[in-house]
């Protein structure tokens, strides 16, 4: 064993580089050198037979779990989507594309698609906007470390609560006789109380607002990490050239942050499109489908109407839409 390990030792350096290249979490510097050493690798990789099995040994629990929890279920849901009366009946019949036609011509599904689009685009823009604004303020050298630490903890609070809690808080606050209506009517913004979550023309916006509140801390923290990674030399050079704070922000900060912002945007689109609990516990998709999303539509098809076949078709459509986003995400990661 000892001999085999020693023999494998020179390879290990490349192993790390290989990992660095595959694993975007590793430093970009290591990724660059991976391609340079790949030629060398081919020459030297003829490992000892036992050694060849070892990595699979370490990965086997992961591989088994992914197979059982991911590959099989996805195969199942795809096969469900082509059958009729799945789960409910013992012997479901093959239905071809019928489930897909049913879903794609269902006005409720189309409403859900539209609502999801509004919900995820507005949420993402607001998350990044608020995240950038507060991260910039928290990154200023004008304030002391303790002050900034306190603000940072307050800002991160919404993100720490489970969605069930967030739903309950906002149902309390947005209640017709709740504190939000009280404040808005008292300062004269509105004349009468609004039941934000149960009126068709306000429900989607109220829900989006809650989602913005719940999610912005994560983006703020990530952008803050990005800001702290920008070299101060760039700002020094800019101020020597006489650039104003605003110009520095536009010409240094934004270009430097662009990769982070793009990745975060795609990630947010993926996550927000998957939001289920918040909608389920605040509006349940109502009133009158005003907040129906792809997730709630699919859930209702399955567990309220017991139409598992159409639900599966909807689930596969959601999966495909997400995979398009995931494809862009992976590409963005590779470019960095």
């Amino acid at each position: 064993m000892g001999r085999a390990d020693r023999a494998a030792r020179p390879r290990n350096k490349e192993t790390s580089m290989e990992t660095a290249k595959l694993d975007p979490a590793a430093s970009p510097g290591a990724a660059k050198s991976a391609s340079e050493s790949s030629a060398g690798r081919r020459r030297r990789t003829r490992p000892f037979p036992v050694q060849r099995v070892v990595p699979y040994g370490y990965l086997s629990p992961t591989l088994i779990l992914i197979f059982v929890l991911m590959i099989i279920p996805i195969a199942m849901v795809v096969s469900y989507s082509f059958k009729d009366n799945v789960i409910v009946e013992q012997n479901p019949v093959f239905a071809g594309l019928a489930n897909y036609t049913t879903v794609l011509t269902d006005p409720d599904f189309l409403a859900a698609l539209k609502n999801t689009f509004v919900f995820i685009t507005v949420s993402t823009v607001a998350h990044l906007g608020l995240g950038l604004a507060f991260a910039t303020m928290l990154n200023t050298p004008l304030l002391g470390g303790v002050t900034k630490a306190i603000f940072r903890i307050v800002y991160i609070l919404p993100w720490l609560f489970t969605v069930a809690v967030i739903a309950v808080i906002w149902r309390l606050m947005l209640d017709p006789s709740g504190v939000v209506n009280y404040i808005l009517t008292t300062i004269g913004v509105m004349r009468e109380q609004v039941s934000w979550l149960s009126e068709p023309n306000t429900a989607l916006w109220a829900l989006t607002f809650i989602n913005i509140w719940a999610g912005f801390p994560f983006f703020m923290i990530s952008i803050l990490a990005g800001l702290q990674g920008i070299s101060p030399i760039l700002y020094e050079a800019a101020s020597v050239d006489g650039a104003s704070t605003f110009r520095q922000f536009r010409n240094v900060t934004i270009p430097q942050l662009k990769p982070v912002l793009l990745s975060m945007a795609v990630l947010d689109l993926i996550w927000t499109s998957q939001q289920f609990a918040l909608i389920w516990m605040t509006t349940g998709g109502g009133p009158l489908n005003a907040t129906e999303m792809l997730s709630t539509y699919t859930y209702k098809q399955a567990f309220s109407s017991y139409e598992f076949a159409t639900a599966s078709a909807a689930a596969v459509i959601v999966l495909l839409l997400t995979m398009v986003l995931a494809f862009f995400y992976v590409r963005l990661q590779k470019e960095r």
Binding site: L143, V165, I169, L172, Y299
Partner: protein
């Protein structure tokens, strides 16, 4: 010189004002939740609303903590989240070691699958899980929940742990292997003990995800004695015909584990989180 100082002061005030507005946006709903939990239910919607009520009481907390059903939700959440954390860490340590220290065919594909898994929508999985969990006899059991939660904790844990192991010099574990120890020994005796900071960050995040998980907990359990805290909060909404003070008390009690973990490990956690999330 004077104007420069004054401008600096002006900028400082502007930034502080901006930060205070943001803090109000982020923090006031939380303060309101806390305040409501100390009210009697009759006072919840009193006009004008008061931040600190005259009849300040812990009755809502006592009601939750004195209720066996509610306590059971907490016990269930602890059982599930702790099991998920331990199992995820174990599996992720093994996988990360494989990724970090070995080169093997299919490495690229396996890694791609792990990254992609993170994007698969839970709603897509919940339908086959329902069928699968029922078929395996795991419906309404802890193993059913624990296993299914792992699909969302594991990929992130592996990516973060691999990145962490990559930062540790290979000489550390190689040196004991030269002395004749197996790679298994090298991993558990050398690498894992010095990875505690990384393991803590991954563990906290895993615990949070499992503690907060809602969709599978809702779909794969049926009876009150198997429900977790998020479902418990929702059940309270239906059962007690809007006892808002109790719902807020339950929400606060249900958030304490995550808040405490976060405050204890803030620095490590944020560092680990951003290095994983921004780049993963």
């Amino acid at each position: 010189m004077l104007t420069r100082k004054r401008r600096r002061l002006g900028a400082k005030i502007a930034v502080l004002a901006g930060l205070c507005v943001g803090a109000a946006f982020a923090g006031l709903p939380v303060v309101w939740m806390l305040s409501t939990s100390f009210k009697t239910n009759g006072e919840v919607f009193q006009v004008p609303p008061r931040l600190i009520t005259e009849n300040f009481s812990f009755d809502a907390y006592a009601a939750i903590l004195g209720d066996g059903t509610q306590l059971r939700f907490f016990i269930n959440s602890y059982i599930v989240a702790l099991s998920v954390t331990v199992l995820t860490l174990f599996v992720a340590i093994l996988a990360a070691y494989g990724f970090s220290r070995y080169n093997f065919p299919l490495k690229r594909s396996v890694n791609a699958v792990i990254v992609t898994v993170q994007a698969v929508p839970p709603i897509t999985l919940v339908i086959p899980y329902f069928g699968l969990v029922v078929a395996l006899g795991l419906y309404n059991t802890y193993p059913g929940l624990i296993l299914t939660h792992m699909v969302f904790t594991l990929p992130y844990a592996i990516i973060m742990m691999t990145a962490y192991f990559n930062t540790l010099p290979r000489e550390l574990d190689e040196s004991v292997k030269v002395d004749g120890a197996s790679s298994w020994t090298a991993l558990w005796r050398i690498l894992v003990p010095i990875s505690v900071p990384g393991l803590v960050a991954v563990g906290v995040y895993t615990f949070m995800i499992s503690w907060n998980e809602y969709l599978f907990a809702l779909t794969l359990t049926r009876t009150d004695d198997m429900r977790t805290v998020p479902i418990g909060i929702q059940l309270l909404m239906g059962q007690h015909s809007y006892e808002w003070n109790q719902m807020m008390a339950m929400s606060i009690l249900g958030s304490i584990p995550v808040l405490v973990l976060f405050l204890l490990f803030q620095r490590r956690f944020i560092g680990g989180l951003t290095s994983g999330a921004v780049k993963a």
